[in-house]
Amino acid sequence: MSVRTKIFSAMKQIAEEQKVTLPPLQDDLSLNETGFDSLAFAILVARLEDELGIDPFTIAEDATFPSTLGELVRAYENVPA
C-alpha cells in the first residue's frame, strides 16, 4: 500500500470515528475543507507515526504544516526512510 493510500485510509477511519463527512479526497483539497479539527489531525499524525514510523512535523526543522491534502501527502513521502 502506498503512503498516499495509507494516509487516505487513516483519514477515512478517523472521519468515521469523529462523525465527520469527508469531501472527495484529492490533492488540491484544502485541509480546512476536510472537516477535520486540530484534534482529528493530532490523531491522524499519531496513527501515521505508528503505521509509517515517521512524524514529519516533529522531525523537520522548518516544520510548516501543510495547507492542502497534496502537501500533507508529500510531507510524508519526502521524509527519508
Binding site: 469523529q18 499519531a46 496513527r47
Partner: protein
C-alpha cells in the same frame, strides 16, 4: 520521664486468641512468644529513647522490631523494601538517627559508623519486664512518585485512628494479609489491624509468584486482605483467585473504579468489599463498603470520627488526628495548611450525590489547553468486559502539544482476530462517556503494564 498515655503496640499481643502468629514464607512467629522474648538479642532496654532506623530485607523482621520498640524508642524510621543504602547518610542526618537495626551487612557505609548497628533475628532470648516510657514517633517515607521521597512523622495513635474508630476487636478472629509491603502506609495499616485487633498476619514475599502467594494465603487461613486496585487486577488476571475465598477485601492507594469493584464482587461473591481512601501524609480518610466507585457526598464535612474533609479547587483536603504530624528534616516544607488541612492532590468531581476521584493534580494531560486525567479515561476503558487493566498516558503531538493514548491488557484467551472489534468497541464506549479530546487517539494492546514497588500503576511519563 513519666509514662505516656499511649498504649504500646506489644501490649496488644496478649489479646485475642492464644495461637496468633505473624508469618512470611519462611517462618511463623507466635505473638504470645513476643511478649517475653526479644528479637534484638535482649538489647531492647539499650534502645530506650533512641532514634532507630529499621532497614531489613525481610518484612517479618521489620514487624518484630516495630512491636518490640514501640513505646521504647524515641522514633522509628521504617525503610521501604526498595530502600537504597546510598540514601542512608541523608536519612540518618535528616531524622537524627543514632541506631540502625538491620539483617544485612552494612559496615562499609560511613554513615553507619556513627550509629549503633544492631542485628535482628527471630525472637529467642527471654527478657525481663519492659517499660513503656516513650510515645514513639513513627517515621515513614513517602512513595516519592513526584520527586525524592520525604520523611513523614506519625504517632501510633494517629496511625491506628481508623482502626480504633471502627472498633478494634471487630475482626478479632481475622487473619490479615496485604499485597503491600508493611513498611508502606497501606501495609502498615494492615499489620496494625492484625496486632491491635487481636488477629494474625501473613506477610507478602518479594518475588513470589501470585500462585505461590495465594497458596500461602490459603494455607495461612487468611480471611481479610488488602491491596491496591493494581494488585487486585493482577490477582484477577492470574487465574489464581479461584482457590481463594477471603471474607473481607479492601482496596486502597489508587482509584478503585467500578470495573475492579465488580470484578472482585464476581470473583469473590461471599466477601465484603471495601475501598478506603488513605495516604502516607493524609492518613486514613474514610472507607466505603457499598461496592460503588467514589464516595457519598455527605462524607464531606466533619464526621463523627473526627475526620474533616473539604474540596478546594477540585482537590480533596483532610484534617484529622490521623494525618501525619509533619515532614521531618531540615528545610522540610509544611505538611498541612495554616488550618491543619492536608492537601491530598487527589482531584474529585461531584456527580449527583457522589464524589468520584478523577486523578492526581500533577498527572493532568494537556491537549491543546484542554485537560484530562489519565485515570478517568482508564475507568471508562476498564468497563469493557474484555479489558483487564489499562493505562492512559500522554503522547506528544506536533498539533495539540499532547494527545491521550492508551495501553490495554485484555483478559486471557482472546483471539487476536477480535482485537480490531474490541478496539472499536472501546473507542465508542469512550466516545459515549468522555469529551472528544479525552478519547484515546491510539489504543495499543500490551501484555503487561509496569506496577511500581508500592503496588501502583507506573505513571513515570505522566
Amino acid at each position: 520521664m513519666s509514662p505516656p498515655d499511649t498504649i504500646a503496640l506489644r501490649h496488644y499481643l496478649g489479646e485475642g486468641r492464644k495461637d496468633r502468629t505473624i508469618s512470611d514464607a519462611r517462618h511463623s512467629v507466635s505473638l504470645a512468644d513476643m511478649i517475653e522474648r526479644s528479637c534484638l538479642a535482649g538489647r531492647c532496654s539499650e534502645l530506650s529513647g533512641r532514634s532507630v532506623l529499621i532497614a531489613t530485607s525481610r518484612q517479618l523482621f521489620s514487624a518484630l522490631a516495630m512491636i518490640e520498640l514501640d513505646g521504647v524508642a524515641r522514633r522509628l524510621l521504617l525503610c521501604p523494601p526498595d530502600f537504597g543504602w546510598e540514601r542512608l547518610q541523608v536519612l540518618v542526618e535528616q531524622a537524627g538517627i543514632d541506631t540502625i537495626i538491620t539483617d544485612q551487612p552494612i559496615s562499609g557505609h560511613c554513615a553507619a559508623g556513627r550509629c549503633t548497628v544492631i542485628g535482628i533475628d527471630l525472637p529467642e532470648r527471654r527478657i525481663a519486664e519492659r517499660t513503656t516510657d516513650h510515645a514513639t514517633e513513627w517515621l515513614m517515607l513517602t512513595s516519592g512518585t513526584s520527586g525524592l521521597p520525604k520523611i513523614v512523622r506519625h504517632t501510633l495513635d494517629g496511625l491506628a485512628g481508623a482502626i480504633i474508630a471502627e472498633g478494634p476487636t471487630r475482626h478479632s478472629d481475622a487473619t490479615w494479609a496485604t499485597f503491600y509491603d508493611i513498611r508502606r502506609y497501606g501495609g502498615l495499616q494492615i499489620l496494625l489491624r492484625a496486632v491491635i485487633g487481636g488477629g494474625s498476619m501473613v506477610l507478602s514475599e518479594p518475588g513470589e509468584t501470585i500462585a505461590a502467594h495465594v497458596a500461602r494465603l490459603q494455607a495461612g487461613g487468611v480471611t481479610h486482605i488488602s491491596g491496591t486496585p493494581s494488585h487486585w487486577r493482577k490477582l484477577l488476571m492470574s487465574g489464581a483467585a479461584a482457590d481463594f475465598s477471603p471474607r473481607y477485601i479492601r482496596l486502597s492507594g489508587e482509584i478503585a473504579d467500578q470495573a475492579v469493584l465488580d470484578g472482585l464482587a464476581q470473583a469473590f461473591p461471599h466477601a465484603s468489599i471495601g475501598h478506603a481512601y488513605a495516604s502516607t501524609e493524609a492518613g486514613v480518610g474514610f472507607s466505603v463498603d457499598d461496592g460503588r466507585e467514589g464516595f457519598p457526598a455527605h462524607l464531606i464535612g466533619r464526621n463523627r470520627d473526627g475526620v474533616e474533609m473539604k474540596v478546594v479547587e477540585g482537590s480533596l483536603r483532610i484534617r484529622s488526628k490521623r494525618t501525619a504530624r509533619a515532614y521531618v528534616g531540615a528545610d522540610a516544607p509544611p505538611l498541612a495548611d495554616a488550618e491543619g488541612f492536608v492537601d491530598t492532590g487527589d482531584i474529585v468531581e461531584l456527580r449527583g450525590e457522589r464524589y468520584h476521584f478523577v486523578g492526581r493534580r500533577g498527572g493532568i494531560i494537556n491537549i491543546g489547553g484542554l485537560k484530562v486525567h489519565p485515570e478517568e479515561v482508564e475507568a471508562v476503558i476498564n468497563r469493557h468486559a474484555c479489558v483487564q487493566m489499562s493505562r492512559a498516558r500522554s503522547r506528544r503531538s506536533p498539533i495539540t502539544g499532547a494527545i491521550v493514548v492508551a495501553d490495554v491488557i485484555l483478559t486471557g484467551g482472546i483471539d487476536e482476530k477480535r482485537h480490531e472489534t474490541i478496539r472499536s468497541e472501546i473507542l465508542s464506549q469512550c466516545k459515549d462517556s468522555l469529551a472528544a479530546w479525552k478519547v484515546p487517539a491510539v489504543i495499543r494492546f500490551v501484555e503487561r503494564l509496569e506496577v511500581t514497588a508500592a503496588g501502583k500503576l507506573a505513571r513515570t511519563d505522566a
